[in-house]
């Protein structure tokens, strides 16, 4: 049984302390997975973060043992947060490379769009705490959607809300975000 599966089982069994152990573990696993996946991509090719989260789920969670939506929610919550950190970390490093700050500079034929995506990511991440302060639920949904790539139905199930409620919240979050990023 993987460590993640064990922790999720503990959460299912009602051990509240187990939830805290999840994030570092998932973070670590996602980083490893990202590195492995990346190695198989040719330069210029990118790896979708959300796909990675799902990969991690398949690899790390034994769905026969872990059955409850609640614990799936814990997993994806932790994964979204972990992925956010990884992406932000990477985007920052990348910005540093652009500025010549990294000696390990290599010639890469990155399409300019990706650069933009990085900036968008950093901006979004900067906006996230502001959104959380105003509306924690909206921020959670944003994370699950953007970083864990979950569908509305899944988010609804995880947060125990109706799809309609998620859709409304998402409408708002999207509009809010747009205003925020345009600032």
């Amino acid at each position: 049984m993987s460590d993640v599966t064990r922790i999720l089982s503990q959460i299912e069994a009602g051990d509240p302390a187990a939830a805290e152990k999840l994030l570092p573990l998932v973070y670590d696993e996602l980083r490893k997975l990202a590195a492995v996946r990346l190695a198989q991509e040719k330069p210029g090719q990118t790896l979708q973060a959300t796909a990675l989260v799902h990969d991690a789920y398949v690899r790390l969670v034994d769905t026969d043992t872990v059955q409850r939506w609640n614990s799936r929610g814990h997993f994806f919550g932790a994964a979204a947060e972990a992925m956010r950190r990884i992406l932000v970390e990477q985007a920052r490093r990348k910005a540093a490379i652009k500025h010549g700050g990294d000696w390990q500079r290599v010639e890469l034929s990155d399409p300019p769009a990706k650069d933009q995506a990085n900036q968008e990511l950093l901006a979004l991440d900067a906006a996230l705490p502001r959104l959380a302060a105003e509306d924690p639920l909206a921020a959670e949904i944003l994370k699950l959607k953007y970083f864990a790539g979950l569908a509305r139905e899944d988010i609804a199930a995880i947060l125990g809300l109706s799809v309609h409620e998620i859709r409304q919240k998402w409408n708002y979050t999207r509009a809010w975000l747009r205003l925020e990023l345009e600032k």
Binding site: R37, Q48, Y172
Partner: protein, 1004 residues
């Protein structure tokens, strides 16, 4: 001025609901008033919403770019293993990047190098590669790219060196070159032959897909070359896992070509026919431009769903796919043919060939790749092909078969539904089931959504199908639903998820068929019958709302039909069945208001049926069934006398049918049902003696039935169950000798069933329950040694069940069985052992409680286990611990809203014996005030005694209070007309109050 974001959000969402801009303006005018800042904010949000166009933000497109791991990415110019100089990256396969490289020695040539992703266990990859290297070297075929070498980079990444093929993926080439169907088939055949060659050398490709079949031009002629042979095996990652990753990442799409057996979890049983399947997918794509499971589907489905799609969903035939394709014109253009012409050329043989290769059951595919190629060749030469059409009947049978296996494996159900005060039995299965169901609901919702999609596709297919084939499907569906549903499922008290899914599918198929039919009188009958079936299925599933909806529709249709054809006995019987279902459903539901009306309607319908067809035994059977249901309904709505007379009306007929046709199972069973219901009705009328006689008669009949139909396991099982139930009843009435006999009969029957059906858990579960009840009965009658023996057998039975499937029902059963052993051991004087066993039982019980904190059966068990443990500790004079156990017992009982006076009195005793006088006083006071009503005589005496004991240890104030409690209890006991004999009172425990004037008066 600051904005309240919640308010802005609420206004924004409300305004979004208003499509008209004037409405929005008016609304905002009203709501914002003079608050311009708020107004501007809401408007900004609204226009931002519009600007997003309602489209979702793409999930993090900000991908993990190449920079993260730049150091580990191969760089042009670097040298691998000292021999291969990387020149240029030319693409990526599923497993890593592909490079053109220059080999320096021993020969100088261009090679392709596949550089496997880092992080894999390179050593074992290479070891597996080495193992297959011999075989790979043996391959020599013009359509196979050779694999030369394998090795490891300095960073420890495995790489493979292959013949460099400068080509384009097969499908891409065909579309670019606008190859005709014939040209495509001609190009496909050598691919089959190449695969055949590899198979003959013992190599399975396992990852065939267009990007692994490259077409290059030699002398202007296209030649396909299969690459990557042997690599999938070397990588040894389950293709499932690997392919899904890529599927979710960039839609590389390997799962699209994956065979059903590869999609099986952890399936190692993959043979050459898996390649045949993949070739079938490739041919499908060459013909239609899409894979059987479309890329789009893959993108939206969850992993497990993808696997399920591959395993379970029958793809549409190529020609059907084309008809539903929106891109037909461009697909046809790529094949240099007219759209209509293209479709026409696929219908028939090409459809058959492709579908044969794609059969989910591999034994029905082409046996060899050459066989596949030959059939394609036959088609090109206008000869008769080996493949033929797949009949609807076959498809349905296959479907049923797949599920039957599931059904057989998942028999794990509870049997005994009565309970008894004396036995602690684990009845938690049922409750667990409900919980699991709830848990499954979400997953089920997904499955249903998917199923709806599937059903939609099915509709399209159905519409195309000829009417005849529709009737055949209906016939097959009827066959399945009668056989599988009625024979296999109706007898089971509960269903597993798989069984539920299966039933839903059947229902949906009926719904689908009904949708496709046109309205005329014959089809009207199909509607009516189809609706009735759907209602019956949902009745099994317990969804009363849906049942009522469909049954009402079906009744309406039947009535119309009967008006036209009053003498059609089939229609009439179905009509009565529908009425009966309507009545039964309503009477079982909580808020059935029309039960009386429905009951009367059903009964009238049944009466008319026998009046019109007096000689038809099937009608008489239906009449009997309806009447018995009616009688039971009356008995439960306090009209038992009427119920009994209703039963009398069918008594003779039911017995007659049974006597006339002793070998027709359903007549015999119906007679049993009659006898059983009769004694239940008598019991409700408080006519106990008659009820008991009836019960015995019913049991005898059930036994006869069981011996006459030894093959019918449901009959066997229910006969055994009767004995257990009767045993419980007898033990409850303290008739232990008889109870013992019944339990032993049940035990024997169930043991035999277990021997006959060793893989079924159903009988083992029944056996385990019988043993638990039996042991408790033995214990109660004082046969301690035997109780221990039987309890140990129960532990063995539940242990076996748990090891087969560690589900919570089984774990709970095991805990119950252990508790049985512990109680018997305690009675046998082995208190120490009893405590240890209970420790284990409580741990197991806790697992159940942890996962389901409201499982009342588990909590009830927990309560009893703590009580037993306290009793054992008391024997060991460990009173403080015993008090702790009693507290735990009380807590468990409170969780199921039970407060048992006995528990509190026992706790008082344990506290008294531990010398905790103050606590005793507090507790005793609260017991006497709160539980006055329920304190029975026995407990009052005990309470008095414990108060006296405690008072010996008490401080002055408590002492007096405790003495008062004791005196009051005894006085009250006296008021209850229980004479306190001197003997009871001689115990020195009562010394502190012996001289109390009130007691003095009482004793006198």
């Amino acid at each position: 001025m600051t904005i309240n974001p919640q308010r802005a959000q609420a206004l924004f969402l409300a305004a979004l609901e208003m499509p008209e801009s004037q409405d929005r303006d008016r609304f905002l005018d009203r709501e914002c008033g003079p608050d311009d800042v708020l107004r501007r904010r809401v408007e900004a949000l609204l226009s931002a919403h519009e600007a997003t166009g309602g489209f979702d933000l793409a999930p993090s497109g900000a991908a993990i770019g190449a920079t993260v791991d730049a150091a580990s990415i191969a760089i042009a110019g670097s040298l691998l293993a000292g021999r291969y100089k990387l020149i240029e990256a030319i693409g990526e396969g599923g497993m890593g990047s592909v490079w053109v490289a220059e080999q320096k020695e021993p020969v100088r040539r261009k090679v392709a190098i596949k550089l496997i992703k880092a992080g894999m266990d390179s050593k074992s990859v290479l070891a597996r590669f080495e193992a297959e290297r011999q075989a790979l070297a043996m391959m020599d075929h013009p359509n196979i790219a050779k694999v030369f070498d394998g090795g490891m980079t300095d960073q420890g990444r495995p790489f493979f060196v292959m013949e460099y093929v400068k080509g384009v993926p097969l499908t891409e080439y065909c579309d670019q070159a606008r190859l005709s169907l014939k040209e495509r088939l001609n190009l496909f055949m050598p691919v089959c032959q190449a695969v055949q060659h590899a198979h003959q050398k013992g190599i399975i490709h396992r990852d065939l897909k267009p990007s692994n079949i490259l077409v290059c031009l030699y002398d202007g002629k296209p030649v396909p070359k299969v690459i990557d042979f042997g690599l999938a095996k070397a990588m040894h990652q389950s293709l499932t896992e690997h392919s899904l990753h890529t599927a979710h990442g960039m839609m590389v799409g390997t799962p699209l070509y994956m065979s059903p057996e590869q999609a099986e979890h952890n399936n190692l049983d993959v043979d050459t026919r898996t390649d045949i399947y993949s070739l079938g997918v490739i041919l499908y794509e060459l013909l239609t431009g899409s894979t059987p499971l479309e890329r789009q589907q893959m993108k939206v489905a969850a992993f497990n769903e993808i696997l399920r799609l591959i395993k379970d969903v029958e793809p549409p035939k190529p020609s059907t796919r084309l008809s539903s394709s929106q891109n037909l014109p461009s697909i046809a253009a790529q094949r240099s043919i007219e759209p209509a012409q293209l479709k026409k050329s696929l219908i028939g043989e090409l459809d058959w060939i492709v579908m044969k290769a794609l059969d989910k059951e591999r034994s029905r595919r082409y046996e060899t790749a050459n066989g596949f190629a030959r059939d394609v060749e036959r088609f090109l030469h206008d000869e008769t092909v080996e493949a033929g059409p797949v009949s609807a009947l076959y498809r349905m049978r296959k479907f049923a078969k797949r599920y039957k296996t599931g059904l057989a494996l998942s028999f794990a159900v509870l049997l005994i539904t009565s309970s008894s005060a004396i036995v602690s039995t684990y009845w938690g299965l049922e409750a667990n089931w409900r919980r699991w169901e709830a848990m499954e609901n979400l997953r089920e919702a997904n499955a249903q959504r998917d199923f709806a999609k599937e059903a939609q596709a099915e509709t399209v297919r159905q519409r195309d199908a000829a009417r005849g084939s529709r009737q055949r499907s209906r016939a097959a569906l009827d066959e399945i639903s009668s056989e599988v549903v009625q024979e296999w499922l109706t007898g089971l008290p509960e269903y597993t998820q798989k069984q539920r899914d299966f039933l839903k599918r059947i229902a949906t198929h009926y719904q689908q068929i009904a949708v496709g039919e046109e309205v005329d009188s014959e089809n009207n009958q199909h509607f009516a019958e189809g609706y009735l079936r759907v209602a019956q299925i949902y009745s099994l599933l317990g969804d009363t709302a849906i049942v009522q909806q469909y049954v009402a529709d079906s009744i309406k249709h039947f009535q119309e039909l009967i008006e036209r054809e009053p003498q059609n006995v089939e229609l009439r019987m179905q009509h009565v069945s529908a009425l009966r279902l309507q009545f039964k459903t309503d009477s079982k539901s909580m808020n059935g208001e029309k039960s009386d009306q429905f009951a009367e309607e059903a009964l009238r319908g049944a009466d008319r049926l026998v009046a019109d067809f007096p000689g038809n035994d099937e009608c008489r059977l239906l009449w009997s069934m309806t009447t018995i249901d009616y009688a039971l309904y009356l008995a439960y709505s306090k009209r038992g006398q009427q119920g009994l007379s209703a039963l009398d009306r069918v008594a003779a007929d039911t017995a007659r049918l049974k006597d006339l046709f002793p070998d027709i199972k359903r007549y015999r069973r119906q007679y049993c049902v009659y006898l059983t219901n009769r004694y239940v009705v008598l019991d409700r009328l408080q006519r106990r003696d008659e009820a008991l006689r009836g019960r015995l008669e019913a049991m005898q009949e059930a036994d006869r039935l069981a011996s006459d139909f030894p093959e019918d396991v449901e009959i066997q099982n229910s006969a055994a169950r009767n004995h257990t139930n009767y045993g419980i009843w007898l033990a409850g009435s303290e008739k232990f000798v008889q109870a013992d006999m019944e339990f032993s009969i049940a035990n024997d029957l169930q043991s035999q069933l277990c021997l006959r059906f060793p893989s079924s858990s159903l009988y083992l579960t029944s056996l385990g329950k019988t043993q638990i009840c039996w042991s408790d009965s033995k214990l109660k009658s004082g046969q301690t040694d035997e109780a221990i023996d039987i309890a140990n057998r129960a532990v063995a039975t539940w242990g076996k069940l748990t090891s087969r499937s560690p589900d919570l029902g089984n774990v709970g059963g095991l805990a119950s069985a252990r508790a049985c052993v512990a109680r018997a051991e305690l009675q046998n004087g082995n208190a120490e052992r009893s405590v240890l066993i209970l420790d284990e039982a409580l741990r197991e019980n806790q697992r159940v409680v942890d996962s389901d904190a409201r499982n009342r059966f588990a909590l009830d068990d927990k309560h009893r286990m703590h009580m037993s443990r306290a009793a054992a500790l008391r024997v060991l004079k460990r009173f403080e611990q015993a008090a702790e156990e009693m507290r735990a017992a009380i807590k468990a009982a409170e969780l199921i809203n039970q407060r048992v006076a006995e528990d509190f009195v026992l706790l008082t005793g344990d506290l008294a014996m531990s010398g905790k006088a103050a606590e005793v006083r507090e507790l005793a006071q609260s017991i006497t005030t709160e539980m006055d009503e329920v304190l029975s005589k026995k407990y009052l005496l005990q309470l008095a005694r414990f108060a006296c004991i405690a008072s010996k240890y008490a401080e002055e104030i408590d002492k007096r209070a405790l003495e008062k409690i004791a005196v009051d209890a005894l006085v009250r006991l006296n008021e209850l007309k229980v004479s306190l004999d001197q003997e009871t009172f001689t115990s020195s425990d009562f010394d502190p109050i012996r001289n109390d004037p009130k007691i003095f008066a009482v004793l006198k």
